[in-house]
């Protein structure tokens, strides 16, 4: 009864279903390697391999989109957002999670922050543009700060939810030993929330890395672009060369693809963790 046999039917269907995921990627790769002259409208030509696997399109795309610079910007913004989110949101989740059961004010605070999840960026966008520049934050620091605020609702919910699994006795024991609430948190609880840190890191990273709108409106001209933003700009300038465009798209996808291939298990577990424990 317990030992089920392998279901080959489902396996086969799932493998076939993978085509829907892999076909667009396959097209991206072959178009990125082709030359404009190879682009034809008949079906054989569309699906065929490029005549040579030359990297010329990529070299050109790196040059015209200032790839390394936007990659650097994207990395800085994403890494800083992750680190600061873990530090700040875990504290917020901890304080709120530990107090919301007894104190009305913290319960209110919880709903106040979590309801921020439903504020569409569209309504904040225009006032934020004004506000960030008044504060001299129309740069990468401003974008990072905004991300920390945007992801706060979700992350506070995750952290305070996770905290329910950690008995109060843990920090009480530390406090008995003479540690202050502050040190007890960092010494005992913060490390115990490690699985949730991973989840928060992954969810925040996926959101910030791919976000277009915030850098589009907040970053002023001279502070450069991020990788997705560079693709938006690329469209207007070099739009007649699809091969160059696709080389550029592929370049923009490669960093996160590599990251995904290396940390696939952690990413999927991290996301799953958010759903179960949150």
């Amino acid at each position: 009864m317990k030992k089920r046999t392998t279901n080959y039917m489902i396996t086969l269907l799932l493998v076939l279903g993978c085509i829907t995921v892999l076909f667009p990627l396959y097209m991206t790769i072959i178009i990125a390697f082709k030359q404009p002259a190879e682009m034809t409208n008949d079906i054989g030509g569309v699906l065929a391999f490029p005549s040579s696997w030359s990297l010329a399109n990529f070299a050109e795309a790196i040059r015209v989109t200032d790839f390394w610079h936007s990659l650097f910007n994207s990395l800085i913004i994403t890494v800083a957002t992750i680190v600061l989110s873990i530090l700040i949101h875990s504290v917020a989740g901890y304080v709120i999670g530990r107090n919301m059961m007894e104190k009305k004010s913290y319960k209110f605070l919880y709903f106040y922050i979590v309801s921020g999840m439903f504020v569409p960026f569209a309504i904040l966008m225009m006032p934020l543009v004004k506000q960030t520049s008044e504060m001299g934050l129309d740069n990468r620091i401003g974008v990072i700060l905004l991300y920390i605020v945007f992801y706060m609702p979700m992350n506070v919910m995750l952290y305070s939810g996770y905290l329910k699994n950690i008995p109060l006795a843990m920090e009480e024991a530390a406090e008995m030993d003479g540690a202050s609430t502050w040190t007890a948190y960092w010494k005992v609880l913060f490390p115990m929330m490690a699985p949730m840190h991973a989840t928060v890191a992954i969810l925040t990273a996926l959101g910030t890395w791919n976000d277009v709108m915030t850098p589009l409106v907040i970053l002023s001209g001279d502070s450069g672009t991020t990788l997705p933003l560079a693709q938006l700009n690329f469209q207007t300038q070099f739009g007649t060369n699809y091969n160059l465009a696709f080389a550029s798209y592929l370049l923009a996808l490669i960093p996160i693809l590599i990251f995904y291939i290396i940390c696939q298990k952690q990413i999927i577990n991290g996301v799953a963790n958010g759903a179960v424990k949150g």
Partner: protein, 293 residues
């Protein structure tokens, strides 16, 4: 006495920890929200001087055909998207938790769309819809495939929907998979002893156990679908014939690009209220259902 004092001390620490964070949140979330609401009562263009116009923008909103169309599109998109995403991802999750070969590779592949940026995915699909699908249609001589779906006033929204669903399924599948794994095996065994069929097992055993996850997924996917933006920019720019103009896109395009800062602020305020109302409604409904079961 001593204990009480230490409690106070602890409370103060808590307060010191949380106050700066709440202050930042207020500054960059609540304050701009309020400012946006204030601008909605002006005819501000975004620059220059402006006048107070009272509730004129709100009155206009309800008589503006274009705004009406954008709500219609956005809801059509979000409702169909929500249903499709959840149906497909429950099916995928069931398949991916069945006893199959190369399980982790398959899961890895199916999660892939979620990590790719919406804008770039949109550009890639735009090319596929414009050139590749029609050329397949021509080769196989299938009439409806010979024209780009994005060029059809009636069906372009489906093109956008395909891309939106393609990306959103991944995340929901993972959440359902983790939901399925929380269901203890004994329950299934009990069901099998009763001789229940596959559908019966699903509808009377699996689905009820999965309900909390359905409720998360419904709320999250509806909210994301309502805010659709990247796909519109990269696939249709709102066309053809303004048939795929989403609310977010209209607010961005006319609020930032056209001179309708004030008017679109009013639109954004209404949009905010609508999203909150829908989310609350959904949570209430799923909660009720969970209790019933």
């Amino acid at each position: 006495m001593k204990k009480r004092k230490s409690m106070n001390h602890k409370d103060r620490t808590f307060l010191l920890m949380i106050l700066p964070i709440v202050a930042i949140f207020f500054l960059f979330n609540t304050l701009p929200l309020i400012r946006g609401a204030v601008y909605s009562f002006t005819n501000y263009k975004g620059y220059g001087s402006y006048d107070w116009v009272g509730i004129r923008n709100y009155i206009d909103l309800f008589t503006d055909i274009r705004v009406g169309k954008s709500y219609l599109f956005t809801f059509k998109y979000a409702v169909s998207g929500m249903i499709l995403v959840n149906v497909i991802s429950i099916m995928l999750a069931l398949a991916l938790t069945a006893k199959i070969r190369i399980k982790s590779t398959l899961r890895g592949i199916y999660f892939l769309p979620n990590i790719l940026g919406g804008l770039i995915v949109g550009y890639i699909f735009s090319f596929i819809f414009t050139y590749i699908i029609p050329s397949i249609g021509t080769a196989l001589n299938i009439g409806w495939m010979q024209n780009s779906i994005l060029a059809s006033e009636r069906y372009a929204w489906i093109g956008v929907l395909i891309v939106g669903v393609w990306q959103a399924v991944a995340m929901n599948t993972i959440i359902y998979i983790s939901g399925l794994q929380t269901i203890p095996a004994e329950i299934y065994e009990a069901g099998m002893i009763d001789g229940a069929g596959a559908w019966k097992t699903f509808s009377s055993l699996t689905l009820p156990m999965l309900m909390p996850f359905v409720s998360i997924n419904l709320v999250v996917s509806t909210k994301n679908m309502l805010m659709v933006f990247d796909q519109i920019v990269s696939l249709t720019k709102g066309g053809p014939a303004q048939s795929t103009e989403s609310i977010s896109y209209l607010i961005y395009r006319n609020g930032m690009g056209g001179g309708q800062f004030g008017f679109q602020s009013a639109n954004a305020v209404i949009f905010f209220i609508v999203i909150v109302a829908i989310s609350l409604c959904q949570m209430w409904m799923t909660n009720k259902r969970e209790e019933q079961l």
